[in-house]
């Protein structure tokens, strides 16, 4: 029973609690037992807040008994250690922040989860200061990819992806600047949603690149992602980029048919450099979407070819500006890798930075034009499955390229345009590594993106598979 409780999805927790089959305290205890037993091997969590979690679970049980429980009452959730969690000393995955005092208040997204009754069970590992897409973090330990020993979990929300994949928690929060939710989702075989820019508050989140940063959920299913987004979305005056756009009931809008939905594939870019096994899984996924009623055709978005340099200029430039003052005297305690990135920020000229920002306008206009002809864009989530931990360069099809560039190639363009993008599992390589599919929608059209992802997950079982152990 305990093992089963620890492995419930968000939707299942709600059903179990509503049916009085278990209490929130029992579910939280099961989750804490799973963490104690398996986190030393998975290394997904940096901090486990057992006492606080059990107190929150007792509060959830009381609310359930009164009949006024929030939509996430009793749901155990992990939080990427880039977001402030009240009472927890945030490390940002960097030795530079070790010794900092505990946070006095929650980040906005964490506060929303708590207000909805969620049980925060701890903070999760990440690539140092979220500046990297592999999740490799020599100083703090790299989470294991639960599907593939010796392979990266993907980052930067590495612990969140590994925790959900390993069934340590049903859901976790991540952040996404160049793909940092969708990449670990893809490489660890879970569902990850980067909402529209401004949809979820970034208040209380350590910045990496202000114009690219997003907060969103990693879960085991699209249904669970919809449940979390329904709580996370909405205007927050504490975040100057937070949008005043109405929030629909995402979960209630999930059960829509794909019949008549038009799907566009930016094939010239998305399929130009891609691992053959990923390409096969992607084409099979397109077939499934078509079988479910969608019409699938190709679209052209010419400026995607320049997305990589633009993303590089913006992340290097903004991260240097955001993090150098934040680090201050702690500069000497960061890893060599981070120091390199921050120094390379000096190479970005104002002219290059502004060219990248202006290119974003063109890329956005092109994507919007494409999304006037189709309802969704679809690509592989990543061009390759999880690479080896120490690979600086990878071969993708016939192309030799830097691992970082390869991993971010298909996720980064949607940070540039801020459009909502969802990663869902769509297959496995021959040696058992997960492959992800990415669905992208119009601004603030998360409901349409989630409904399409949910329809795909009703037609397939990739998201239900679990790693051994």
């Amino acid at each position: 029973m305990t093992a089963r409780l620890a492995e419930l999805s968000v939707a299942e927790v709600r059903v179990v609690l509503a049916g009085r089959e278990a209490t929130a305290v029992e579910i939280t205890e099961a989750c804490l037992e799973a963490l104690a037993a398996r986190n030393p091997r998975v290394r997904a969590f940096l901090t486990v807040t057992a006492d606080d979690a059990l107190a929150a679970a007792r509060t959830a049980d009381a609310a359930l008994a009164r009949g006024d429980a929030g939509p996430l009452a009793g749901v155990p959730i992990g939080v990427k250690d880039l977001l402030a969690v009240r009472g927890v000393a945030r490390t940002n995955g960097s030795a530079a922040f070790v010794g900092d005092p505990p946070a006095a208040a929650d980040a906005g997204a964490v506060a929303r989860l708590r207000a909805a009754g969620a049980v925060i069970v701890g903070t999760t590992h990440l690539h140092e200061l979220a500046f990297g897409p592999t999740g490799v973090n020599p100083a703090f330990g790299t989470p294991a990819n639960p599907w593939a020993a010796g392979r990266v979990p993907g980052g930067s929300s590495s612990g969140s992806g590994a925790a959900v994949a390993a069934r340590l928690v049903p859901a976790a929060l991540g952040t996404d600047t160049g793909g940092s939710i969708r990449i670990p989702a893809s490489l660890c075989g879970v569902t990850g949603l980067k909402p529209t820019y401004g949809r979820v508050t970034r208040a209380g989140v350590t910045p990496l690149a202000w114009t690219l940063d997003h907060v969103g959920p990693l879960t085991r299913s699209v249904e669970d992602a919809a449940l979390l987004l329904g709580v996370l979305a909405g205007h927050d005056p504490a975040d100057p980029t937070s949008a005043r756009v109405p929030v629909p009931d995402y979960a209630a809008l999930l059960d829509r048919s794909l019949r008549g939905v038009r799907i566009g594939v930016p094939r010239d870019f998305a399929c130009a450099i891609v691992d053959p096994e990923v390409a096969r899984a992607f084409e099979a996924a397109l077939g499934e979407l078509g079988h479910a009623g969608a019409t699938v055709g190709d679209v052209t978005i010419p400026s995607l070819d320049h997305a990589g340099p633009a993303l590089g200029a913006l992340i290097l430039g903004e991260a240097r500006s955001a993090l150098a003052p934040l680090l201050g005297a702690r500069w000497e305690r960061v890893s060599v890798e981070l120091r390199i990135y921050l120094e390379l920020g000096k190479l970005v000229t104002a002219e290059q930075y502004l060219a990248a920002q202006r290119l974003r306008t063109r890329l956005y206009d092109e994507m919007r034009a494409a999304l006037a002809r189709v309802d969704l864009l679809v690509t592989p989530a990543t061009v390759l499955a999880a690479p080896l931990l120490d690979e600086l360069q990878v071969r993708v099809g016939d192309t030799q390229m830097g691992t970082l560039e390869a991993i971010c190639r298909l996720s980064g363009p949607f940070n540039l345009t801020g459009l909502p993008a969802l990663a869902v599992p769509c297959g496995f390589t021959g040696d058992g590594r997960p492959i992800g599919l990415q669905l992208v929608g119009r601004p603030f059209a998360e409901a349409e993106v989630l409904a399409a992802g949910h329809a795909y997950q009703r037609a397939t079982d990739w998201h239900l598979r679990r790693p051994a152990g």
Partner: protein, 63 residues
């Protein structure tokens, strides 16, 4: 080797302070990306203004 040398010169000009032995590593892992930044300046961007996601996306959603 030429690319590494060019990168070394470029980093020195920007006042980058890193141990020399790291330059080869940087050239391999990030050299093409750094070189590609120059390509942004060759783009004909016409009269496009810088992107403002916090303004543009809500405006489009409302419109």
């Amino acid at each position: 080797m030429q690319a590494t040398e060019r990168l070394r010169e470029r980093m020195a000009a920007a006042g980058i302070e890193l141990p020399p032995e790291l330059v080869d590593l940087i050239a391999m892992a990030a050299g093409p990306m750094i070189t590609s930044l120059d390509a942004l300046l060759a783009l004909d961007l016409g009269d496009l203004e810088p992107f403002s996601p916090a303004r543009r996306l809500p405006d489009d959603a409302a419109g």
